[in-house]
Subunit: 271 residues, 2 copies
């Protein structure tokens, strides 16, 4: 039986990771859970993010996945270490793949990171970068206005261009040669981000890099899906499935069926 | 005690991988073995490459490395699968990291690969690409004249430019959007290769990508080296250490001490 890759996110942002997994690993089956009823995790207290992430992982374990992917930078920053101790399948977050890509890419050793308040405040990127390469210079910047732009599907508007330019202003003059998009929503804004930082700064997308790292880990565990009929992906969310479905149609370019998880969420919120 | 990463190659080509490991993982210690007395492996019979690779792995196991890196495309194509079954540490080759990077990079699904005769003839790149993504179009080309250019340190000469242009001529008109440099020597020629294939074809260097994958696997096994004093790398070769040292000085940009392995090679060649 084909074992799925379980992907979880606070909402729709993790669909950028799911999309890249579908593209880079077309034989792999995905079970996706978007905790849309409780999104965003970005501004929540760390204990709450920890608890929510554990609950969603619990929910996903019923599908006996071969891997858990925490496709949310905030949840990765806060919960990855603990979740890795709790489950017996590999747990992949979205921070370390971006970190490794940045270390590979940088020539001058100066790396920028943009993310939510929680992600930047956690220092998770800085820690992950320094654990591997202690002399890297890291410049982090919280950009709280960017996620709402994407979730309201305004990412191609002149307003988005203006907000991106203002949000990134503190990075002007920083000699970074690559910039990690430390939030799964940001790839939608990359044309505007690139305009601001210039063509000499390489943009690193967590989504692309995470899909690639999933591939590496499955290969080294001998767990890549064998050839077979096209995989059937399953999507669940805790909030309004119609909204989720509309965004998924726009982002993934295909119609998907989303199952709401009402019972589960009642139980979760009373726990 | 810090455990080293063992890197082996038929000769000096694997130094491009070692250099990237030093750059991307500056805390990791390397034990390198270049089988210079028996290089190149490219034109040898497969059973011979298998036997030599097993012998060198045996030699390196005395250092109790935490990982074996087969930094030679020919040896990876022929011996990776079997070596993985023989040792109880992870074994990383140089083919799959390049494959994953190419799958991440390609937009149009057409990927070129250049390598030695043995590497291309083995079909290892095509198999590895299709195992992950069955509909990728792969165009392989053997370029037997390129390794000698690099080993004779002629890689920045007009002769090199001419030989590269002639070697790559069969790729003209192929709609590939990335090209895997399927030999650890080729990064030295990448300016000329890029001139021929044009700026729209992304060049994928096995060396960069392998170092990055080493990082990912060590991280997921909890085996990244902790901070400490700068690592001390060790280099061994079966041939003339002076030649090896001269190339290493030029490629790594630093003076290294190379220990010849005479006794071992006598034993090996009589076995």
């Amino acid at each position: 039986m084909r074992q799925a890759i379980a992907i979880l996110d606070s909402g729709v942002g993790g669909l950028t990771v799911a999309k890249e997994v579908m593209r880079q690993l077309p034989q792999e089956e995905i079970v996706y859970f978007g905790d849309t009823a409780r999104a965003p995790y970005g501004p929540r207290a760390a204990e709450e993010v920890m608890k929510f992430t554990e609950q969603v992982v619990d929910y996903l374990l019923q599908f006996r996945p071969k891997m858990i992917v925490i496709a949310c930078n905030t949840a990765t920053a806060i919960a990855l270490k603990r979740i890795r101790l709790q489950v017996d399948v590999p747990v992949v977050g979205v921070i370390h793949p971006g970190v490794r890509a940045a270390i590979k890419t940088t020539k001058n050793g100066c790396i920028g990171v943009i993310g939510t308040e929680n992600t930047i405040k956690s220092g998770a990127y800085q820690q992950a970068l320094h654990a591997i390469s202690p002399h890297i210079e890291v410049v982090g910047l919280a950009c709280p206005l960017l996620v709402p732009l994407v979730e309201r599907r305004l990412y191609h508007t002149p307003e988005a261009r203006r907000v991106v330019a203002e949000s990134l202003r503190p990075l002007s003059g920083i000699p970074m040669d690559c910039l990690i998009l430390g939030c799964t929503h940001y790839p939608f804004l990359s044309p505007f981000i690139s305009e601001v930082v210039g063509p000499k700064v390489a943009l690193i997308s967590s989504a692309d890099e995470t899909a690639r790292e999933i591939s590496a880990i499955l290969f080294h565990r001998g767990q890549l899906a064998p050839p077979g009929p096209p995989p059937v992906h399953r999507f669940f969310c805790s909030g309004d499935p119609a909204m989720f479905q509309a965004i998924a149609l726009e982002w993934l370019g295909e119609q998907i069926k989303v199952s709401p998880v009402f019972w589960q969420m009642t139980r979760l919120s009373s726990s």
